[in-house]
Structure formats: C-alpha cells, structure tokens
Symmetry: C2
C-alpha cells in the first residue's frame, strides 16, 4: 500500500514539527492482543520500493486506470443532486438495502442464491474478516488457513490471538487429506477450531484455484467435522479463461460465510465489501459492525450502487480480465525468459499473483534489500505464513505495472538471483538460515507445488 | 439510526424470500466477547418510531438539510475528474495526508497544536473508540465513564469485555472528587484502569459542558494517577453562545487521546472521524486500523478534504449552530410550557441533547411503548448506563425535527406523562420497579443535576 500524494491545488501550510517523544510511555498498558499487532519487518523497505524507479511486483493494488471516470463522476454527481440528504446521512448498520440487493446479483454469477437480508456490508472485505474473527475467536482458538495464506487475514487472526494452523495446498488448491488430518490433530490436542479460512479462486498469494472436485471434498469434510468455512473471494470474477467458478457458498448455505468485495472489480478506495452469512451469524455481524463503525459509509455504498446501476459493470470486468491476462502473460513469459533453471512457479488462471519458489538455499527475505537496490520489489513468502515457513518463496504481483515494466522487473529480479546464487556458491548462504517450524504433517513445506518452467 | 429507503429510480427486482433457519446453530461457538454484543431492547420499538407520524426525539442524526449540495456535488465532481485514480485507489492506513493536515486546522479552533503525523483517520469517531479500546483493553480492565455516557461507546467497552465504572457528573461536568474516589476505589480493588472516557462539550446524552476549572482539575487527577484520558469531542464546534471551549488535549499532549469527527459538522454518511494520539499510541492505532480495514476509504476522505478546501466550512458551521440553537430554544420552551411540575431538565449550551429527569416513580423505559403509541419517541436513560441506572430519566434530541415538530413532540410526551402519573396515582407503579445497582459512592444517582423548570 503506497501513501497517497496530497491533493494538488489545495492550500497546504507547512505543518509544525512533531514534538512528541518517541518513547512509548504506554508500553505496559496495552491489551495483550496488541502484542500481536506488529509492523511488518518489510514495511520500511516498502517505503523505498514505492519510488518510481523501482518496479514493484510487491503490491496488490488493482489497476484502475481503465475505469470510466466520466461515468463514475456523473453517477456520483446524480447521486448527490438527487439523493444527497440520504447519501450524506447515517445509514443502516447492515448496509444500504439497495446495494445489498445488487450484491446478490453479483453473487448470482457464482451460483449463489442469497437474500439481501443475509448480506452485511463492510469497510472492504478486510473488515469482514475482522468482524467474523471478532465474533468467533477467543484467544487460543484455532483458525485453519491454506499454506500460504493472505497476509491481511493472518494479521487479523494474530490480532485476535487466534492460532493459525496451516493446511497444505497444491495446484488444485487445499489438499482434502491434509485438511482432515489437520482437523483431527487440532481436535486431538484439545483445542477448538473456529473456522477454515480459504481463498478458493486465484489464491492470494499462491495463484492457484481449488478444483471442482476438491470443493465438494472440502465441504464434505467441514460438514462432517462441523467446521465453519470462511470463503474469501475477492478475485472470483477475474478469471482469464472461463466463466466464474461455482462458489463453495453456492452448495452450502448454513456452513459457509462468504466474503466479497468491490475493491478488485470496481474501486478499492470506496472500501465496500460484504459478508453473506447464515442468519444468526449475520445478526451478530451487524451488532459487531454497529459497535465498530455505527454503519458503513452511506456515501461510498450509494456511489457503488449508482455505478452498478448506471454502468455496464460486467462489460467493465471483462475489460479488466483482458488487461490482467495480458499482464499475467507478460510475467510468465518473462519468468520463462529470464529466471534461472532451478526456479519454479505456477501460471494462475486469474487474479493478481504468481507464487515463485527459488533455488534451494536462497532466502527471499534476506535477498529483498538487494533486490530493492536493483530496483525491483516483491513480497517474501514468509509474510504469508504464521509459522516461519516460506523463506524459499516469493509472491510476484502482475496486477499493477504495465507488461513492459513487469518484464523489466522480472529481468532485474533474475539478475539479483543470479548474483545471489554466485555469491552463495562462493561464500555459502548469504541470508539467515531457513529454519522452518515443524507443524502437523508438513515438513519443510514451502507452498503449493509449482510447475517447473 | 433509521434505515435508509432504497434509491428511487433504480431497478429493484423483488428479492427472493429468506429461506435460512432462524435457529442459531452457532450458539455455542461464538467468542466470549460476543456475549457482550446484544441488540438493544428498544431496537424493535425504534423501527416503529421511524414512521413519519411519530415525532422522534430519540435519534442523534444531524440535520444536514442546510448543506449546499451544489457545492458538495461540484467538489466531488472535480475530485473524480482530477484525482479519480487516487480517490478510487487504496490509500494510507493512517489516512489521507492532506486531510490530516486539514484536521489539524480544525483542531486549532479548540487550542490544539498538533502534527498531522499524530492523526489517524477513522471510519467515524465510533471506529476511533473501537480501535483505542482494542489496543488498550483486556477483559476485566476498567474504563471510567461519565454517568450517564454515550451508548455507542458503552457498547464498544462491553464488546471488548471491559468493565465500565461510572463517575458522577453535575451541571459543570465530571465531578473531580468523584473521579478521584472512583480511581482510588478501582485501584484498591486490584483492577486496572485503562482510561477515562469523557465527552467534555455538550455531552451526549447529558447536555452538560465541563467547566474550565473542572478541565484543569480532571487533567491534574489523571496526570497524578496516570490515567489516560480519551476525550471524545464530536460536538465541540456546535456551541450556541460562545467560541469553542479549549480542549483537554490543548493542555496535555501525552496523556490525552483526542477524538474528532466530521459527522456533526459536515456529513455522517462520509464516516470520517479521527484520533489524535501520543506518538507511540498513534503507531498502534495505525496497525489496528490496517488490521481492521487496510485503510479508511480514500474516496470519502478526499471528498471531505475537497469540501473543506472549496467551501466556507466555518461559515457553514455557524449556520448549523444557529439552526440547532433555534431547535434547542423550541425544546426548552415546550418543556416549560407542557411538562408536569415534577420534571427537571437542563438547557444545553450546544450540541444535540437535553437530559430530562421524570417525576419520582416514573420508569422511562416502561413508558416508551405508550409514548410511541402516542406518536413520540425518546431514549430511556438506562441506555446510557452500564449498570442499570437511569430509569427515571430520558434523553431528548432536538437536532433533527423542525421547531414545530419538537414542540408537538414535547406536547405529546407531556400528555403521556400526565396519563402515566394519573395511572400511577390510581394503581401504583405501571412499569418495573427502578432498582438501581449500587456502585462506588453513587446511590440512586440518575444523571447530572438538572435545573428545575
């Protein structure tokens, strides 16, 4: 996430210097959960990585340059002119009723037949993860996650003092046998599983998609074991080769909380996401939302609603898919052209991300400062594990830069890797030793199997 | 909070019937904190109270009918046209840098000299209360609150399993001796106080303002006892008779977290509030914000920023103050004209609320259904206490209805009270007995002293 530039043309007096002390006089007074809220080790580096000369393959920002600003501006102008007093006022804690209807239309594309009453609008789907975790997780409760998993969700689970247990995934997504084994192991240890957090489509960061057969198997296991499924699906409509996959929620209404978002298909700056939940859970989510914000922003909800009403949003998504496919192709081609032979990766069928596994012994986190010096950035695999795994992998995003910049970024990255390999051959390991934590049946597991290039 | 009507003119297919069961199969699986998230007992009644024939003196919705929609529309149109790709994109977790500068300009009106680096933008100041509580409160920690206090903050404290200890207030605000006694009592009991939550200006619900002398005393006590002050100030610029009061934060930077909001001075539908915090606390708040939402909405932040830049917002606030003063006057006049002699109330010098204490023996919560039947609504005092006090009082809002409707509402309320008094004289108490919980030095205390009419 890069900071925004100030609005040009606005009067901007020089701010006074900050005078407060940098020592934390509150250090002994925070809640226990606050110990789980720590700045990412790579955050400082990302400030550098946001410089224009660096090709960032790190961020997950959607490319919204294709949005029709005239349509958006006119829809919002109409909104203020005709419904200003409603759009500028407090709204329902559950979210705008008209938008919740439109959200059921969006979900219908993935086979979900839902009632607007069961939808809760959230401040991006990040807040949906936060609210679900808030209502379900006591300290020490277990959340099952794919290995690797979305860094923002792992942060929420940590902030609510839940323990993450990773479950192996492969090129077809979550491995059912591994899921069953993880559930059995956690139950045997006397701990309580609160839910399985999964991103079935175009996984962040792994790029893989859960196969149809796997979906049925995963649902069967979770039904049998009474494990709630938290299905996070921000990228589901951004498949490159086919119609949207059928959601887990389409085949299981009572056992799945489904999360969606307009951040990838329209605008992340609106911060409009949602949860579709079984009725009783939905009631709790509304109470949690009211406690957290009173209500999500009426203004941005109605702006999204107006955009959906006045624009061919499905046509717009088709254009986005083409644009992202071109970028995916540019990245895969560049990987094939430049990366050293011992690297592996997958070719995602949608979404934003490729998961790259490095030659044995290379530590992606240790290498990152050298990559940024060479003007390319990525996210080391460790960010996507709660347990220290992932050092041998990295996430590359193809969503934001142009195809040319992607190619140049991968070229630079390959150069850094070559140097790294040479240095390693001369002097041994250049970064900290990779010391994976042993967990469940996984041993040295570093992410999903990837196709060898 | 009343639900919004759907957007007229939009295509709205009849939604399918909800089919999910109303039984909660998750009842044993929620987090312990979720037990503290309960729907208000009066929520169902408020659905009825939102009917147009009911005069609602219950809600705290600002009257935004005076906002210049043409200016707002044009500012937002310019925003999309010139800065669309930024406004529609993810932003900083801390909030838009330009807006944070403008927020320091707003706070300067209350004597606060702050750096934009120490400001965190939140989804309304409700979210600021949530984030501060999240980073400070473990279950069983104590939060000191005025008696009565803001219902939305009490909900947050409950949701994070903090214990609220109320401190008496009078016509000059929080009573310093009561504060010192409460701190001593809590410390003697071995519990940990995390902060004092206070609304110094035009208190919600009590309508009172903390005097200058009291501010110094409260700060002295909190410094000496090392109690953090959470200063919630949504109404500070809405005084009717004088320039804004000097904020507690203006005289104490390290010991105060200050909360502000654009909900009452511009638009609640934007959901833009903020926290100004000591540097170390600010860092934790940003991490908590990133975990909760990734970032607050860029779009509404930049819309607020554009409004502040392009409009005479201080002139607009002056108009609002006149409008609210007229409504306050209408309410006080109507109370004097209609209410039975044993009722007391205060005359607030700003904000939205009057605190009314009923004749002995009348239970405001028990009476509410009869009031709604008589087409007038209010909030019973018990909503503003964590401990069962307040049944003999009610909060009346003068912010939203017209002066004529306010007068009519109070007339209806007086009629209900008269009937209630007559019934009581004939048959004894009509509602549940008022059984106040004993707490600290308070005994049968039901809110601040009020002037006899």
């Amino acid at each position: 996430m890069e900071p925004q530039p100030p609005v040009p043309g606005s009067r901007s007096p020089a701010p006074p210097r900050a005078t407060s002390t940098r020592l934390d006089s509150y250090v002994d007074r925070y809640a226990a959960r606050t110990a789980g809220m720590t700045a990412s080790e790579i955050r400082a580096l990302f400030a550098v990585a946001s410089r224009p000369e660096v090709v960032s393959l790190a961020g997950g920002m959607p490319n919204i340059s294709g949005l029709p600003l005239d349509v958006v501006g006119s829809a919002i102008g109409d909104l203020i002119a005709h419904h200003g007093p409603v759009a500028l006022q407090y709204g329902s804690g559950q979210g705008d009723p008209r938008l919740r209807e439109q959200i059921t239309d969006v979900m219908r594309l993935e086979g979900i037949d839902a009632h607007p009453d069961d939808v809760v609008v959230t401040v991006g789907s990040q807040q949906a993860v936060d609210l679900v975790t808030r209502i379900f997780c006591d300290p020490g409760d277990v959340v099952l996650c794919e290995a690797p998993s979305y860094v923002g969700a792992l942060g929420v689970f940590k902030a609510f003092q839940a323990d993450v247990v990773h479950v192996e995934m492969d090129a077809d997504g979550l491995v059912p046998a591994a899921l069953a084994a993880a559930i059995a192991a956690v139950k045997a240890s006397g701990r309580t599983i609160k839910f399985l957090y999964t991103i079935p489509n175009f996984h962040n960061p792994a790029g893989v998609t859960m196969s149809i057969a796997r979906r049925a198997e995963v649902l069967d296991i979770c039904r049998r074991e009474e494990v709630l499924v938290l299905e996070d699906n921000p990228y589901g409509l951004l498949g490159f080769d086919s119609e949207p996959m059928r959601a887990l929620r389409a085949d299981e209404a009572e056992g799945v909380v489904y999360l969606g978002s307009f951040s990838k298909t329209f605008s992340p700056g609106m911060r409009v996401g949602w949860a579709l939940a079984p009725h009783a859970v939905r009631e709790k989510l509304v109470l949690a939302q009211e406690s957290a914000t009173l209500c999500p922003p009426s203004f941005s909800q109605m702006a999204v609603s107006a955009y959906l009403t006045q624009h061919d949003w499905q046509g717009q998504i088709k254009q986005m898919r083409e644009m992202y496919r071109e970028r995916r192709d540019a990245m895969i081609q560049a990987l094939e052209d430049f990366m050293p032979p011992a690297c592996t990766w997958n070719s995602p069928r949608g979404g934003f991300f490729v998961w790259v596994t490095l030659p044995p012994g290379i530590d992606a986190k240790a290498m990152l400062p050298r990559a940024v010096t060479a003007r390319v950035a990525y996210v080391p695999g460790t960010a996507f594990f709660a347990d220290g795994f992932g050092a041998g992998s990295m996430r590359l995003s193809f969503c934001f830069p142009t195809p040319e910049r992607i190619r140049e970024g991968v070229r630079r990255l390959a150069g850094v890797l070559e140097q790294e390999t040479e240095l390693r051959q001369m002097f041994g390991a250049t970064g900290p030793a990779v010391a994976p934590v042993q967990l469940g049946g996984r041993s040295g597991y570093d992410g999903p199997s990837t196709e060898v290039n």
